[in-house]
């Protein structure tokens, strides 16, 4: 692997080359025709100026804030419900056996079809988007917590009991940390799905948010607006993912990192 600065330089190079190709093909006519007609593909300068305009005028902040709020609420509510119910199911095999087919059924359902129902029930405000995000986040957290409780090493469990732990202390010192570690290992996926839920919800019917501005731009054949919205969304997701990585590093210090060389 190359050093970090080299790697970042190479990564930037990919972006520069891609944008350069886009720029050339959408502005310079080849044999009398542009390969990427700006009406369909816009141009990098148009998209960039649109993004700059949004930030200079400050209109984008409100949309970013709404999407962030929806994704956060979806993540928190979905996670709390997933942890509690996952824990409950794992500790009560009968409950799990009874509800198992229904859980699988609901998880198999494509969530997009629920969006209109949520809009009908909860209106066009943020809560219909939160609900959509919750249905995505919940199952990821639920399955991971369930697995975390089930996969506790029998030796660790026997050791805990021999050390004199009561059933409640087993919960606190063994099952709980194991379940949480599995949940945190899926943090990137669940946070990602929270954002997806929010944006898809906005896209299908709302008055604010990143999904809304992309949908509005599409409605008026404003391709520069669509691309600008996608770039802002991508940057937004990368920033959130970076925050998740930071949190993960703090919370999972006890876990071995396979690819990392440790200084011990």
């Amino acid at each position: 692997m190359p050093s970090r600065p080299t790697l970042i330089a190479l990564q930037l190079l990919v972006a520069v080359v891609a944008i350069a190709i886009w720029h050339v093909f959408s502005t310079v006519p080849i044999f009398g025709a542009k390969l990427l007609p700006p009406f369909f593909f816009s141009t990098p300068t148009d998209v960039a100026s649109r993004i700059v305009k949004w930030f200079v005028e400050g209109t984008i902040w409100k949309h970013l804030w709404i999407t962030l709020l929806e994704a956060t609420l979806a993540f928190v509510i979905g996670s709390v419900a997933g942890v509690l119910i996952g824990f409950w199911f794992a500790r009560k095999p009968l409950i799990n056996a009874i509800f198992d087919p229904y859980v699988k059924m609901m998880n198999a359902l494509p969530r997009v079809v629920l969006a209109p129902i949520f809009a009908l029930w909860l209106g066009l405000g943020i809560w219909s988007k939160v609900a959509l995000g919750v249905t995505l986040v919940f199952f990821i957290v639920f399955f991971n917590v369930y697995q975390g409780v089930k996969e506790v090493s029998p030796t660790v469990l026997a050791n805990a009991r021999m050390l004199g732990m009561s059933e409640r202390q087993l919960m606190r010192h063994v099952y709980w940390p194991s379940a949480l570690s599995w949940m945190f290992s899926s943090l990137h996926t669940s946070v990602g799905f929270a954002v997806v839920g929010a944006v898809v919800g906005e896209y299908l019917g709302s008055a604010a948010g990143l999904g809304y501005i992309i949908q509005q731009a599409e409605g008026t054949f404003d391709v520069a607006g669509v691309f600008a919205g996608m770039f802002v969304l991508a940057a937004f997701v990368i920033v959130i993912d970076g925050c998740v990585t930071l949190i993960e590093k703090r919370l999972l210090v006890w876990r071995p990192v396979a690819a990392e060389t440790r200084t011990t």
Partner: protein, 268 residues
């Protein structure tokens, strides 16, 4: 020292129910007494049910027949007077070395600061005073076994059950761990049941060596006193004449069973 044995297993048989409805008898009619303060090593070929016998003494597994008594009282449920050092990794990976050692006291109601203080003391005794804040994955295999030893001994159990605790370690580390164990044990002589497949280790450490036959339906087939004086150094005691004589004598008896065990497990 009292008259009653620390651990008394009388005619203990252990059978597992198999998936196809049949039963597998792991141990057949084993009778074994471990006196208070006595260090007994249990040796046998792979898969002979040594661990199963230990689990009965720990109360983790009820015997199908026979009786287990701890200091004269019938064992029902977990054996609260025993500490168990497992063969596999048994530390809590999400706790630091210090927290791992302190937990046995904390769950018994010792205030946290005191528990941690005593845990630090125990870590120092097993030679890991400077590693208190490490998580298990940051420690070597030998260091993890030391933490495990401290985790068990801090609760001051009257009986110590050890299941091939140094099995996965390299030869040098095993020797160091063996000496550490003898040093800690000689301070307050607990009753020890030490399971191993290594006959040399068994003789070097223990007061008595018990040999088990190959499974299934493993039996206890021999019981030797180890006449070596204490305190011992594991490396040096192996050079003594008495050690070699005993080793030869026990090996004669064990050899056939080892071969039988190999034949049954296909050499694995």
């Amino acid at each position: 020292m009292g008259e009653t044995a620390a651990v008394a297993l009388s005619e203990v048989s252990i059978a597992f129910r198999l998936a196809d409805g049949g039963a597998y008898e792991a141990v057949q009619s084993a009778t074994l007494n471990v006196e208070d303060g006595e260090f007994v090593a249990i040796v046998g070929p792979t898969g002979c049910g040594k661990t199963t016998l230990l689990n009965v003494a720990a109360g983790l597994f009820p015997p199908s027949h026979g009786r287990a008594e701890i200091f004269g009282a019938g064992l029902d449920g977990l054996n609260g007077q025993a500490g168990y050092l497992f063969q596999q990794e048994a530390l809590f990976p999400w706790k630091t070395a210090l927290e791992n050692v302190a937990i046995g006291l904390e769950v018994a109601g010792t205030p946290r600061t005191e528990a941690r203080y005593r845990a630090q003391d125990w870590l120092t005794r097993v030679g890991l005073g400077a590693f208190a804040e490490r998580y298990p994955h940051m420690l070597s295999g030998g260091q993890r076994k030391r933490v495990g030893l401290a985790q068990v001994l801090i609760r001051d159990p009257k009986i110590l059950l050890m299941d091939e605790p140094f099995g996965p370690l390299d030869a040098q580390t095993r020797q160091i761990m063996g000496n550490l164990l003898l040093e800690l044990w000689s301070a307050d002589r607990k009753a020890v049941m030490f399971v191993t497949h290594d006959l040399e280790e068994a003789i070097a450490l223990s007061d008595r060596v018990v040999i088990m036959s190959a499974g299934p339906s493993a039996r206890i087939m021999g019981d030797w006193r180890v006449p070596l004086p204490r305190p011992r150094d594991i490396a040096e005691v192996k050079l003594e004449r008495a050690f070699h004589e005993l080793h030869r004598e026990i090996w004669q008896a064990l050899k056939d069973e080892v071969m039988k065990g190999y034949a049954q497990t296909g050499g694995g």
